[in-house]
């Protein structure tokens, strides 16, 4: 049964997040115009990293249940972590736990039916960046090379999960053959999973987990073809959140708003997170 490997320190999982940081990421979310696409994406990924670290924390520190890479592409390809160089990726979860804290204002219920502003400290790894063209092919090639080193050394591990978050088209060629190469890399537990999420400032309804290309507008067809078919472990998570999807659905969303991005990342990673054997 593929996608069944337990996650522990001897056989860690691997998450790779590819983040579009091109100029257009300066646009604002259609349904949340107070935020730019880049700010929303950074917030969601910072939250996800926070949750992964908390899940892996014990009294003796952060356990290295996951290797992790955040690869930004805008103008050029960069490490998403300000303290870790691109060639040091992937890094282990315990190595990124100590990070910069930022003060944010959170609205909480005041106990009398109203809301009150409370200042909270949140950990920050990713900053919102929007700059230059979209070298998605270069970023995917980098991720592919990284996986070619990781996979042979982690044959017992749950297969790597890559999530590519972008608002547009690559400016450096056709990424489909690179994506195919990535999807063909495998551990004993199954093939690497590549999920793509197209985020947008449009207010149009998102297309989530389509199973055929004709459900996707032309602009998203290439990303659809690049995406892995969802394994059972992800379909189970989606069903648990009342998404009705069929067995050939792909890990792809088009025109996603901020809520869809959060849901997509949660569903795509939760099943693996639940495989942790502390």
């Amino acid at each position: 049964m593929p996608y069944g490997a337990e996650i522990n320190r001897e056989q860690p999982g691997l998450f790779v997040f590819l983040v579009d940081q091109s100029k257009s990421m300066d646009d604002r979310w259609g349904l949340d115009p107070n935020k730019t696409l880049s700010q929303g994406t950074a917030d969601v990924l910072n939250r996800l990293l926070h949750d992964l670290i908390i899940r892996s924390t014990k009294a003796d520190g952060v356990r290295a249940y996951f290797d992790i890479a955040v690869i930004g592409y805008g103008g050029d390809v960069n490490s998403g972590f300000s303290t870790i160089a691109l060639n040091e990726l992937p890094t282990s979860l315990d190595k990124i736990a100590n990070t910069r804290m930022e003060k944010r204002i959170q609205k909480v219920e005041d106990g009398t039916g109203g809301l009150v502003d409370v200042e909270v400290n949140i950990p920050v790894w990713l900053d919102p960046i929007a700059n230059g063209p979209t070298p998605m092919c270069k970023a995917l090639s980098f991720a592919g090379n990284m996986l070619e080193t990781w996979v042979p050394n982690h044959q017992g591990s749950f297969p790597p999960i890559l999530v590519n978050i972008t608002d547009g088209k690559p400016t450096d060629g056709n990424p489909e053959p690179i994506a195919e190469k990535i999807r063909n890399l495998r551990t004993n537990d199954g093939n690497a999973l590549l999920f793509n999420i197209h985020i947008s400032s449009s207010r149009a309804a998102p297309v989530l987990y389509p199973s055929t290309e004709d459900l996707v507008p032309d602009e998203g067809k290439s990303l659809f073809r690049m995406s892995s078919v969802l394994p059972e472990i992800v379909i189970e998570q989606a069903s648990g959140q009342n998404f009705s999807i069929d067995n050939s659905a792909k890990g792809f969303a088009f025109n996603a708003d901020l809520v869809t991005l959060i849901t997509f990342l949660d569903i795509g990673t939760r099943g693996v997170r639940e495989k942790i054997a502390d």
Binding site: E6, I54, K58, A59, V62, I276, A277, D278
Partner: protein, 241 residues
């Protein structure tokens, strides 16, 4: 006549973990007639410490769990001890946040009363007690192997999570007989024992012949054949000596 009770304890941590990371804990009174076993939840902060505190406190201060006031005051004193063990000021953000979520653990106790020729067991969570008597197996508090799930109700180190704890206590008051063998087990082995009995197999012969090395091999073998979940695994065998 007063008897002593002979206890044998076997515990193996999860595969991939160090011995000191085993989050099952137990404590035994000096005559062997007071025993507690506790299984710390693996995704909480320092559940090994919480499980140790809960089980040891039952030996040091065995109370009547059916008295709500007494039970909650007893629990609060353990929570205080847990709080004092954490150096909050020195914790980095992630540890502080995790610790704020609290620790969780099961608790299963056994008090043997010679005078009454009976024992009382209290259970919160999915650690189980088995009484092997004339080839039959009585089980408490879980009676069927399919009743185990990933989210048992557990005792928290934080009062705010314990609002319903008193109502979750299960009690067994049972006669004890000369040749009874009592087994206390944390959930992974408990589930296996139940499955074996359900399949008509008497595992008491195998379990009573255990020593530490045999138990390690036994657990390893069952994990390999996927009959046992990879979890901390502990059993306590109790016989009248």
């Amino acid at each position: 006549m007063n008897h002593n009770y002979e206890t044998s304890i076997f515990s193996v941590q999860k595969s991939g973990n160090k011995e000191e990371e085993n989050e099952d804990a137990y404590a035994i009174g000096k005559n062997g007639n007071l025993i507690a076993i506790s299984d710390g939840a693996s995704d909480s902060f320092s559940s090994r410490i919480w499980a140790q505190l809960l089980s040891q406190e039952f030996i040091d201060k065995p109370i009547d769990f059916n008295n709500k006031e007494v039970f909650l005051a007893w629990l609060e004193s353990i929570q205080q001890k847990w709080l004092e063990k954490i150096d909050w000021e020195k914790l980095p953000w992630f540890m502080k946040e995790k610790a704020k979520g609290g620790d969780f653990a099961s608790l299963l106790t056994l008090t043997i009363s010679e005078e009454r020729n009976r024992f009382i067991s209290y259970a919160i969570g999915d650690s189980c007690l088995f009484i092997i008597r004339e080839n039959k197996c009585l089980t408490f508090p879980i009676e069927k192997s399919n009743e185990f799930n990933n989210y048992p109700y557990l005792i928290s180190s934080h009062s705010k999570n314990n609002v319903h704890v008193f109502g979750k206590i299960k009690t067994l008051d049972c006669e004890i007989r000369e040749n009874d063998i009592i087994i206390m087990a944390t959930d992974s082995v408990a589930k296996w024992i139940l499955q074996e009995y359900e399949a008509g197999s008497d595992v008491s012969i195998q379990l009573t012949k255990m020593d530490s090395e045999l138990f390690k091999d036994f657990v390893k073998g069952l994990r390999r054949s996927k009959e046992l979940r990879n979890d901390d695994s502990t059993i306590i065998l109790i016989k009248r000596s």
